[in-house]
């Protein structure tokens, strides 16, 4: 709610800025324009940097709305004004696409893997997924309705491990915070969450037990700034954008 209000205010502000600069800079550099990007919350660390880069190079100001992919999908379906949608899984992009809300098609721009988040220094000596089934260990997962929770269940199935979670958190950030506060001994989150959090240590999950999350991006039909939206996506897919994503723990395409 507050975020939408902030977004609306920011757009108003931008519109005012645009009106001011539009006339003055008609002859020289391209005038400043704005876009709004709806992105999965796991993308925040990388996309904030990409947004800053876009403003520096192309004079396009990006306003982000970071939420769980489900929430974003619902907001787009309810007619929220947005130019770009970046989802944490293909399922939600497909939902938006089949509702006829995309302009063109979506492109995969990054992959993410899962990792076990443990307390700093790994005091419980957790080294494999199988360790998570140890008695007396407090393990927290994301709810299966959340993409991260769905992936966590898949990776546990592949490793033939049964975990009795203490809680099924409603966001992947809930898993992270329970581990970083020391209330849970371990949780399964994205590699990028651990890279950017700094509050927890990560225990890698071998590739043959791991799941790859695909992140698609697309321009939305409701866009009021198609060229700006395309500039953003081009930057995400460029080598610059990919370097930023990799530094935040994602795998490039």
């Amino acid at each position: 709610m507050t975020r939408r209000l902030v977004l609306a205010l920011a757009i108003l502000f931008l519109a005012a800025c645009g009106a001011q600069t539009g006339g003055a800079s008609a002859t020289s550099a391209p005038s400043q324009t704005g876009i709004s990007v709806f992105a999965a919350s796991s993308l925040k660390p990388a996309f904030d940097k990409i947004g800053a880069r876009l403003q520096a190079t192309k004079n396009v100001v990006t306003i982000f709305n970071y939420e769980g992919s489900q929430t974003l999908t619902a907001q787009i379906q309810q007619g929220a004004p947005a130019d770009v949608f970046a989802s944490a899984d293909t399922a939600h992009m497909t939902t938006v696409e089949s509702a006829g809300l995309l302009s063109g098609s979506s492109k995969i721009f990054a992959h993410n893997k899962l990792e076990i988040a443990v307390e700093k220094g790994n005091p419980k000596g957790i080294h494999t997924l199988a360790d998570l089934s140890r008695a007396g260990l407090v393990v927290v997962l994301a709810d299966p309705s959340v993409p991260a929770g769905k992936y966590a269940q898949q990776t546990l199935n592949m490793a033939h491990v049964t975990v009795h979670p203490a809680s099924l958190e409603l966001q992947v950030t809930g898993v992270l915070s329970k581990v970083s506060l020391g209330e849970a001994d371990a949780g399964i989150v994205y590699v990028s969450d651990i890279v950017t959090s700094g509050q927890v240590d990560g225990v890698p999950i071998p590739d043959d037990q791991n799941v790859t999350a695909d992140y698609p991006i697309a321009v939305l039909k409701s866009t009021s700034n198609g060229p700006g939206a395309q500039e953003f996506i081009d930057l995400v897919l460029s080598s610059d954008g990919q370097t930023i994503l990799k530094a935040a723990g994602f795998q490039g395409v």
């Binding site: 409603l170 329970k178 209330e183």
Partner: protein, 261 residues
């Protein structure tokens, strides 16, 4: 009814206010998938969440009664700065965002918390993620409603009854149990009902402090949130059940109980 005496402007604004409450309710009722409602009500998940919600909210109300009535009593007898401090502390959870309350509970009663760390190291007790944690979260958020109602009741109490009892030789505890408490019954009842209703709808503190696990900490409001993302129809049905239960109780209480506020 003396409806004719209400100025038209007030009546119009009151109508708007009522409409503001009514429209969201209508939205739920209109959008509810009535054909699936029966199945959703009968499903084991709904039953588990509803049972847990009833248990937790009643337990929270019981704890609030045991701790809140004495708190209100003490509050009504103190004066000056001490009273302001107690009053502010007691009503803090009413203005605190419940999620913040949940974080505060974690920092106090979590495994690494102020008190929780002692419990964990000395007795191996872990409160977060248990049903007890859900009850504590609900008590934290709902008890102020009871304290305020009871304190209001105490304030409007005629002190002559207590004075008469004392003049007849009754001691402090006897006066409280035999004179004050019976006189307070309407205030206690209405406070308990409000406290229970608030506990029943508690979400933020519960999800933060107790987490989400079916049958253990997944109360109806949490179940509604989970379902909202994947099964919106059952979320609406669950919300309606919660509404119906609360409404039935509130209407059943009638004015004579809630009127004490």
């Amino acid at each position: 009814m003396s409806q004719g005496r209400v100025p038209a402007a007030l009546l119009a604004l009151a109508g708007l206010g009522l409409l503001f409450f009514l429209l969201p309710l209508l939205g739920l009722i209109v959008r509810a998938p009535w054909d699936q409602a029966i199945g959703a009500i009968g499903s084991p998940e709904t039953g588990t969440a509803l049972g847990l919600s009833l248990f937790c909210s009643l337990a929270a109300t019981a704890v609030a009664l045991v701790l809140g009535i004495p708190l209100a009593f003490v509050l009504s007898k103190t004066t000056g700065n001490l009273r302001s401090v107690i009053r502010a502390l007691t009503t803090l959870p009413m203005v605190l965002p419940p999620v913040v309350g949940g974080v505060a509970l974690l920092l106090a009663f979590g495994r690494k918390g102020l008190v929780g760390s002692i419990l964990y190291q000395a007795f191996g007790i872990q409160i977060p993620f248990t049903t007890a944690a859900a009850v504590m979260a609900e008590t934290f958020v709902a008890m102020p409603f009871l304290v305020i109602a009871v304190e209001g009741g105490l304030r409007s109490l005629d002190p002559r009854y207590e004075e008469a009892a004392r003049a007849l030789g009754a001691r402090g505890w006897m006066v409280f149990a035999r004179v004050t408490l019976p006189l307070l019954r309407p205030a206690i009842f209405s406070g308990a009902v409000l406290c229970w209703a608030r506990a029943l709808g508690e979400f933020g503190a519960t999800i933060t402090f107790a987490g989400n696990f079916p049958g253990r900490t997944q109360t109806v409001p949490v179940a509604v949130y989970v379902a909202l993302e994947t099964r919106p129809e059952s979320a609406i049905v669950l919300s309606l059940i919660l509404l119906a239960v609360s409404l039935a109780v509130l209407v059943g209480m009638r004015d004579r109980w809630l009127g004490a506020l």
